[in-house]
């Protein structure tokens, strides 16, 4: 009895944490490469709306997911062009991307508000694994997009810390001039990782509109992109810690819904809805203090445009 409540809560935490996880992994890629992209919220919304539009029209959630990756990746490419090639201020360009993405998604999505999705991503129990007591129902009865993150997180970790290209990625974020001197193409790689990061943010958005909700609503990300940006700091740019952090936030997210549904508790829903934002604030403060104490921190060249002539 007790067990089933826990199982439901943990499974819900994973589902609710997955969109944040996708976005956080994307932001880790960009920030590791030395580019601070604050447009995550906007890219998620572009992913959510474009994925939904395509899935409604074609009836294929996978096709929607693919288009979400491409559309969000395209907006990330705009950001990359402005910040990497034209060396525009990364903070303000990121804000511009969020404002533009919010507006564009609201504009394109207007006819799709309230439209039902013919086929959404459905939970698939993984044969064998799903029957493991406790762990099975918590981890292995989700939709394919959740399983994708199970693969993505260890792959990213391995890539960062155990491969040559991963080393180059970290190098262009820590010391681009040195990497450049060793023959690493800083500009091209930064483009690559910013665009890939945008695609992952788009995946997070598409998860919301194609699996989690599944529907389109203006501004449906409700700050998850920003929470993901905060989470990257909390996770000290580590994909595994990002996974744990995402599930923590997912748990709080899911908890607010459960508490709202439970009529016995008389906390006004407005205060419950504040919870994820307040938690982000508190966690960010604690995490920042931790990084100060332990002398671990952001990639050295984060948010500094690379300029060969100013070496």
């Amino acid at each position: 009895m007790e067990n089933s409540v826990w199982i439901a809560a943990l499974a819900a935490a994973i589902t609710a944490g997955t969109p944040i996880l996708y976005a956080a992994l994307g932001e880790i890629l960009a920030e590791r490469a030395g580019v601070l992209n604050l447009g995550v919220e906007g890219m998620m919304l572009v992913g959510a709306v474009s994925g939904f539009m395509v899935a409604v029209r074609t009836g294929s959630p996978w096709l929607g997911f693919l288009v979400a990756l491409l559309a969000a990746g395209f907006t990330a490419a705009i950001f990359a062009f402005l910040t990497i090639t034209l060396r525009a201020n990364q903070v303000v360009t990121g804000l511009a991307l969020t404002i533009f993405g919010t507006g564009l998604s609201g504009f394109l999505g207007k006819p799709y508000v309230g439209v039902p999705l013919p086929v959404s991503f459905k939970a698939v129990a993984i044969p064998g694994l799903a029957n493991i007591p406790f762990i099975g129902p918590v981890l292995f009865r989700h939709d394919p997009l959740v399983y994708l993150t199970y693969i993505l997180v260890p792959c990213l970790w391995y890539y960062f810390y155990r491969t040559r290209p991963g080393l180059n990625l970290r190098a262009i974020g820590e010391n681009p001039a040195a990497a450049d001197a060793l023959g690493v193409n800083v500009f091209a790689l930064r483009y690559l990782y910013v665009i890939m990061g945008g695609m992952l943010a788009g995946a997070g958005g598409a998860f919301l509109s194609l699996a989690y909700a599944p529907s389109w609503l203006e501004n449906m990300t409700a700050g998850r992109g920003w929470i993901a940006v905060a989470l990257v700091i909390f996770a000290v740019w580590d994909p595994v810690k990002a996974l744990l952090g995402s599930y923590l936030f997912g748990g709080v997210d899911a908890l607010t819904y459960t508490l709202q549904a439970a009529t016995k508790i008389s906390i006004p829903s407005f205060f419950l809805k504040m919870l994820p934002y307040v938690l982000t604030l508190v966690v960010l403060i604690i995490a920042t203090r931790q990084t100060l104490v332990k002398h671990i921190g952001a990639p050295g060249a984060l948010s500094i445009p690379y300029d060969r002539e100013e070496r």
Partner: protein
């Protein structure tokens, strides 16, 4: 990159011509991009833009509404700009606006019998204090431990909006308000005087005075000098013995106070009550305005009128089915093009290969 098709040559001085040309060009390009999206979704872009323009300059109402909506944009824009000058990315003007509106409303609703000459100053002070405090919350951890203020200020926007929603849906809801999410109307003493026949209220004077005071502070006082140096070269500021932590807190207080003043003048000047969704994103538009105006107070006043016109024009075409989000799409696109164009003020662009050095 060496040998590439496009090459940049750094200008010794930022181009004065480009400073003016780039924003104008950016607006034009953004309208072009917006037009493509409008056309793709079955609207006639020229007709939509013409109707928007008509909605603004075609009537006395449109013109006065443009002034009315410029007021909160000016105040929040000024607030954002002072923080941006110190490279403090306060994007919490939206929340600070809501808290200012809350503070002013609290005075108006709690002491309904105050005479106007006490009521209005008290509301102003409450709005300024609440806005300032809401900015102080992220300022303290930023000053002490370097906690990223972009995220903290933004998170507090959501909290402030939910707080006001809680009040207007809950304990402060007007019992005679037909269940709408708004408070009872303020007493007559709690309303700002207006120009007869329009909704243009005293907040306009607040904004203009604030702009002048801000300009004087920036270029005529030691503190203003410190702010400018801290933003332009933080390292030099530290060597010069400028107390950065103290200035972070003071600048954020001022920044939030101006946004709070905007919230106060909106409830006292326009709505005369606190209500759900009192800002259609003024605090975010303020960011674009501040950047477009190069953080200059006088330019912020001018640019605010343009963005206000965009908002008013946007409202006027919504009845024709044009999505409300068109305006924020255009705003984002304008900022994109301005950011992209800025390189033209700092660099000279050459096509073709550059001569070997």
């Amino acid at each position: 990159m060496a040998g590439s098709f496009l090459t940049w040559e750094k200008r010794l001085e930022p181009s004065r011509v480009m400073v003016v040309i780039v924003p104008v060009l950016a607006v034009f390009m953004a309208l072009l991009v917006g037009g493509i999206f409008l056309a793709a979704t079955g609207f006639s872009p020229l007709k939509v833009y013409q109707d928007m323009l008509n909605g603004v300059i075609g009537s006395k109402y449109g013109l006065s509404e443009t002034v009315v909506k410029a007021i909160p944009l000016m105040l929040t824009g000024l607030g954002v700009s002072i923080a941006f000058r110190m490279l403090l990315w306060n994007i919490g003007a939206e929340g600070q606006f809501y808290m200012g509106a809350f503070g002013a409303s609290w005075v108006a609703l709690t002491f309904p019998h105050l005479p106007a000459y006490i009521m209005l100053p008290a509301m102003l002070v409450a709005g300024v204090i609440m806005g300032g405090l809401w900015a102080l919350l992220p300022a303290l951890p930023r000053a002490k431990w370097g906690v990223n203020e972009v995220i903290t200020t933004l998170m507090l926007n959501y909290v402030a909006i939910l707080w006001v929603d809680y009040l207007v849906y809950g304990p402060w809801k007007d019992p005679k308000g037909f269940n709408f999410p708004l408070t009872a109307p303020f007493s007559k003493a709690a309303t700002l005087p207006v120009i007869a026949g329009t909704r243009v209220h005293l907040g306009l004077v607040f904004a203009l005075v604030a702009a002048i005071l801000l300009a004087i502070t920036l270029w005529r006082t030691r503190w203003g000098y410190e702010i400018r140096v801290s933003g332009e070269s933080p390292r030099a500021a530290r060597y010069a013995g400028i107390k950065i932590e103290r200035n972070i807190i003071l600048v954020m207080l001022l920044s939030g106070a101006l946004a709070g003043l905007a919230g106060m003048s909106e409830v006292a000047g326009i709505t005369h009550r606190l209500q759900h969704g009192i800002s259609p994103g003024y605090g975010y538009t303020a960011i674009i305005i501040a950047w477009l105006a190069k953080l200059h107070p006088a330019a912020i006043i001018l640019v605010s009128f343009f963005f206000s016109g965009l908002i008013v024009g946007g409202y006027s075409v919504q009845t024709a089915g044009v999505p409300a989000a068109t305006v924020s799409m255009l705003q984002g696109a304008i900022l994109f093009f301005v950011l992209g164009g800025e390189i033209l003020t700092r660099y000279r662009l050459h096509f073709g290969r550059k001569e070997a050095k």
